[in-house]
């Protein structure tokens, strides 16, 4: 299958069409590319690929810790097609899109083609992709396919044939745009050689058309763990769509709404990447967690325009394709060979092209490019850019640039959005509730790993090297008790001898236990926050939840490695927190991040200290008078503080007063009061809804009381700390109710059996 392309060109050894060469000669339109690539030393090509790839992380969208983007194998060698060659591809793609859209309009409407036998009944009725609830039995639905993709291969005769249609939720348009950008960045000179038709104009026109409906258009994503999330993120970015998940949306009054901090805002245009049968648990698969209950009815009524329509996967049926006269059909023979760059020179491999067509308003336009791929050495896909060269003649009316009058309104049905729509919300009010929730929890999780990380480091460092001084053991034990209080280790694991293997195992277990799990939860929030935080802050979070978590995993068996990994993790959060502080704008939810951090610090500190003050501890650390070091860790106090504390009669009491009473220490409890107050004030200023004031006042009261008691050494400190943590939990719940969960998750009220309580 593989042919080498050393110079001179290899003799033709197969009957496959050769994209680059004909009759032993380089085809002229390949000359500039060929020279640009082959002229450069392999090392330089590899460097430039790496440089292009950097663009991924700069965008922030490719930066996912579990996203091994080395698996995204880019080939610098594009597939180059002349205008005349592209004309053939475009005609096939346009013709198929038009025919398949007409077919689906009939099948989800009058079904005349089934009744008259044009389409075999079985190909519709026996196909689970035919979604009966989407059929409009009394009319003809509007456009079903707005974005279409076809996979094409060129046969030995030089003609392109379609090997797969994509009508449901075509993948790869974002990847095509990204491929073009990354390679153009890595190989600016290469991209300067030819007159390459640009992709951007069509994308810009489509973005205009999507936005023309009035509301902010959205991309409905199944979420970041979707295998094609990168493709979705790029597409949303380039088309100016809000990248939302099912939980961001709700149906009310038969219409679709986005749950934003400022309330519900209407949505009428949705680029859909959730599969049809999962899109509505009410009418389609009831077990779907990715659905929006009521979406099918809203779509059928025309109040929501879905790209593509629900049920469009039926258009991918080979049986239906066979029944239609579609261009680009028929058996193809061996696919054509395209040049692939390898460090050892060019290789020739069979190539598949994915081309895209878009209905911009009602005109079908073909993206002048796309993606192509060849099989790599390990079976992976090697992706290449697709160049369409400009025609020599100036007139190219193959792809009309002029946009006809918008007809979207016609598709949208009689009673779509009200004529006088309220102005779209701006600033904080426009922020999706789920995003605010993610920022809040990023703050909470970050401070949670910070507290348990510092306590774990403290305890482990005291146990790193025997023999142990009594002070070290008491200190390690105190840190462990506080870890138990903060919920990082099980209470039963926070007691007992500190010197033994069990204690060490429990402490080392934290790295993959509570800390690892919290980092994993933080990781899950990154995509929701990625749109709102600066690139640097985003990368710092990715690094923390990815590489640092990996280090913790690898270090868990050994104290020194664990201490290094904890150091790196704590540095990682400190860096991320600092960058987030500066990198989240106020109208992007900075207050939620700050509130999350302050609440978590309040809860963590209070619970940890309450645990150490537990009189049931057999040997009270306080009476032992040696655990103040572990307490000072909570406030990240410097050595100077330690000396000052030691100079007092009651070191533990002094340490407590410092951690609880000093407003100037950002990690101390007293500083959390002002932080909470500032956060709620920012929300009150940015959003027109009441803030949970009573819950705030309760927390502030508790914090003040704890500081007072700590200063005077009075009784009841432990109980007060417990009350403080409880009050902070209640404030967290109140914030959640007020801002995040306008609606909880849906669940299906199962089909009522025809056999009711008892009976047939």
């Amino acid at each position: 299958m593989e042919q080498q392309y050393p110079l001179p060109l290899a003799p033709d050894v197969s009957d496959a069409f050769d994209e680059m060469a004909a009759e032993g000669r380089l085809r002229p339109h390949w000359m500039p590319v060929f020279e640009a690539i082959v002229a450069q030393p392999p090392r330089r090509i590899a460097d430039r690929l790496a440089r292009g790839r950097r663009h991924l992380t700069e965008l922030g969208i490719g930066a996912r810790p579990d996203d091994d983007d080395s698996g995204w194998a880019l080939d610098p060698m594009p597939l180059v097609l002349t205008d005349a060659e592209w004309h053939g591809v475009a005609a096939i793609v346009t013709g198929r899109m038009r025919a398949l859209d007409a077919l689906l309009r009939d099948l989800y409407g009058p079904m005349e083609r089934v009744a008259d036998g044009t389409v075999p009944a079985e190909a519709v009725f026996a196909d689970p992709r035919f979604l009966r609830p989407l059929r409009d039995a009394t009319g003809t639905p509007g456009r079903q396919i707005t974005l279409y993709a076809a996979d094409l291969q060129r046969g030995p005769d030089g003609a392109w044939r379609v090997v797969a249609d994509h009508t449901e939720a075509p993948v790869g348009l974002g990847e095509a745009l990204l491929t073009r950008r990354v390679l153009a960045r890595g190989f600016p000179d290469l991209y300067a050689v030819g007159a390459i038709v640009q992709l951007a104009p069509l994308i810009a026109d489509w973005a205009d058309a999507l936005a023309g409906a009035g509301d902010r258009p959205i991309l409905l994503s199944p979420g970041r763990y979707s295998a094609t999330y990168l493709d979705q993120a790029v597409l949303a970015h380039r088309l100016g769509l809000d990248l939302l998940e099912p939980d961001d949306l709700t149906i009310r009054d038969g219409r679709l709404w986005v749950k934003r901090l400022g309330g519900l805002t209407p949505a009428t245009t949705v680029l859909r990447r959730v599969f049809s049968d999962f899109a509505d648990p009410l009418e389609l698969r009831p077990d779907s967690l990715l659905g929006i209950p009521g979406l099918a009815a809203a779509a059928r009524s025309g109040r929501v325009r879905l790209v593509n329509a629900l049920g469009s996967s039926l258009g991918e049926s080979p049986a239906l394709a066979r029944a239609l006269p579609l261009p680009g059909g028929g058996a193809g023979g061996a696919p054509s060979l395209a040049p692939v760059w390898t460090p050892d020179g060019l290789a020739a491999r069979p190539v598949t092209l994915r081309a895209f067509a878009i209905a911009v308003d009602e005109a079908i336009r073909v993206l002048p490019g796309g993606i192509a791929w060849t099989p790599g050495d390990a079976g992976e896909r090697q992706v290449k850019d697709v160049w369409v060269l400009e025609a020599d003649s100036a007139t190219d009316d193959d792809m009309p640039r002029a946009r006809p009058a918008p007809e979207a309104v016609k598709d949208a049905g009689p009673d779509r959005a009200p004529d006088v729509a309220p102005p779209p919300p701006v600033g904080l009010a426009a922020l999706p509730s789920r995003v605010a929730d993610a920022l809040f929890w990023a703050g909470r999780y970050g401070e949670r790993i910070d507290l348990s990380g510092r306590l774990a480091r403290h305890a482990l460092s005291r146990l790193a090297m025997p023999p142990y001084a009594p002070h070290d053991l008491a200190d390690a034990a105190a840190a462990r008790v506080m870890l138990g209080g903060a919920g990082a280790i099980e209470p039963e694991d926070s007691r007992g001898p500190i010197e033994g293997t069990a204690a060490r195992t429990a402490l080392l277990g934290l790295l993959t236990g509570a800390i690892g799990r919290t980092l994993a939860s933080l990781d899950g929030l990154i995509p929701a926050t990625s749109e709102q935080v600066s690139g640097d802050a985003g990368r710092a979070l990715v690094d923390l939840a990815g590489a640092r978590r990996q280090e913790l995993r690898e270090a868990r068996g050994e104290i020194d490695a664990a201490l290094d990994a904890l150091d790196a993790m704590l540095d990682g959060w400190a860096r991320a927190a600092a960058l987030l502080q500066d990198g989240v704008a106020g109208n992007r939810g900075a207050a939620f991040l700050a509130l999350g951090r302050a609440i978590e610090r309040t809860i963590g500190l209070s619970r940890a200290l309450a645990a150490i003050l537990d009189p049931r501890l057999g040997r009270s650390p306080r009476s032992a008078g040696v655990a103040f070091d572990a307490i000072l860790v909570l406030a990240d106090a410097p050595l100077a503080d330690r000396r000052a504390v030691l100079a007092t009669d009651d070191a533990v009491g002094a340490a407590l007063a410092l951690v609880l009473g000093d407003e100037a220490r950002p990690r101390g409890l007293a500083a959390q009061g002002p932080a909470l107050r500032r956060g709620l004030a920012a929300l009150a200023a940015g959003l027109d809804r009441p803030t949970p004031r009573p819950e705030l006042e309760a927390v502030l009261g508790c914090i003040a009381a704890a500081a007072r008691i700590a200063a005077t050494g009075g009784p009841g400190l432990r109980r007060h700390l417990g009350d403080t943590a409880d009050a902070a939990e209640r404030l967290s719940d109140a914030l959640t109710r007020a801002y995040f969960t306008q609606l909880p998750r849906a669940r299906v009220l199962g089909p009522l059996p025809s056999v009711a309580a008892a009976g047939p």
Binding site: L282, L749, S754, A756, P760
Partner: protein, 294 residues
């Protein structure tokens, strides 16, 4: 005509408030060659904030109700008046069922094409070897469809036990066939599966049956509940048979909706936000009014 008054009340009580509920109801009767709907309404409490009615793929009436503010319970009642032709369908001496199956395998006429939809397996009625075996035993060779199907209904009625405790709505058909027991929904799915295994087109009909037969004596199973039976395509039209009661569908049955199986015509479906645990009360009253004296 016999005039029926139907009252089918459903009430959900929720353990915690429901913030938002969307309900999908196949609970409005349709006109059929045998029946005429005089009046039908679906009042509910609390009142729906949004409501919509349309026809589904099979021509059934579908109602959608949304309650968009917190509520602790939801009650919806079908109040309908329906007139049913008293005489049973004539028994057409059509072609043998094997010939009808052959027509459906390569349907040409529009009505055969449409009917052929109902010969394929469906979500709750998969193809099972046991159903094919049942068809071989239960369908007498060479007989017209309506006659053969009635024999099959009789066979199922004789070999399956009516047992409300044996199954629930989630019981797979394979288990029903193994255990040989179930309720009207199961009897209907079994018969549909056997008819489809023989290449015939069969649909699931949901509706009601009056508590007393027209002769004033027999108590039919399925009264005071939602009921279900089967319709089979004869080559010229559809004939309804009730395998649970081993009878043809006549003056005692009122049709709500039909589809491939229960999943297409479940009387109530809903998606709730919130709610916790819930309890359910259902009451069905089918009453003949204005009946011509026997």
């Amino acid at each position: 005509m016999i005039r029926y008054r139907i009252r089918h009340a459903t009430r959900y009580a929720y353990g915690q408030p429901v913030e938002l509920a969307h309900h999908l109801l196949h609970l409005l009767p349709r006109d059929t060659p045998r029946q005429r709907v005089v009046a039908a309404a679906l009042p509910c409490t609390p009142a729906a904030d949004w409501r919509d009615e349309s026809l589904d793929h099979f021509g059934n009436r579908v109602a959608r109700l949304s309650v968009q503010r917190p509520h602790d319970s939801f009650a919806v009642t079908l109040e309908a008046t329906v007139e049913v032709r008293p005489d049973p369908d004539p028994s057409p001496q059509g072609p043998a069922w094997e010939a009808v199956a052959a027509t459906l395998a390569r349907p040409a006429a529009a009505d055969a094409v449409r009917a052929s939809e109902l010969r394929h397996p469906s979500p709750l009625v998969p193809a099972l070897p046991a159903l094919a075996a049942l068809a071989r035993r239960g369908l007498p060779a060479g007989r017209p469809v309506s006659e053969a199907a009635l024999a099959l209904a009789r066979h199922i009625h004789a070999t399956f036990a009516f047992d409300p405790e044996a199954t629930d709505v989630a019981t797979p058909l394979a288990d029903v066939v193994t255990r040989h027991r179930g309720v009207c929904q199961d009897f209907s799915h079994v018969m549909i599966g056997a008819l489809r295994a023989a290449g015939l087109a069969a649909r699931y009909v949901s509706g009601y049956v009056r508590p007393r037969g027209a002769d004033g004596a027999a108590i039919l199973r399925g009264a005071d509940m939602s009921h279900a039976w089967v319709a089979v395509w004869t080559g010229g039209g559809w004939v309804d048979l009730d395998p649970t009661n081993d009878c043809r569908v006549g003056a005692d049955h009122v049709t709500l909706s039909w589809g491939r199986d229960f999943s297409d015509v479940s009387p109530l479906r809903g998606v709730l936000l919130g709610g916790g645990e819930h309890t359910l009360d259902v009451a069905v009253a089918v009453e003949a009014v204005d009946e011509p004296s026997a």
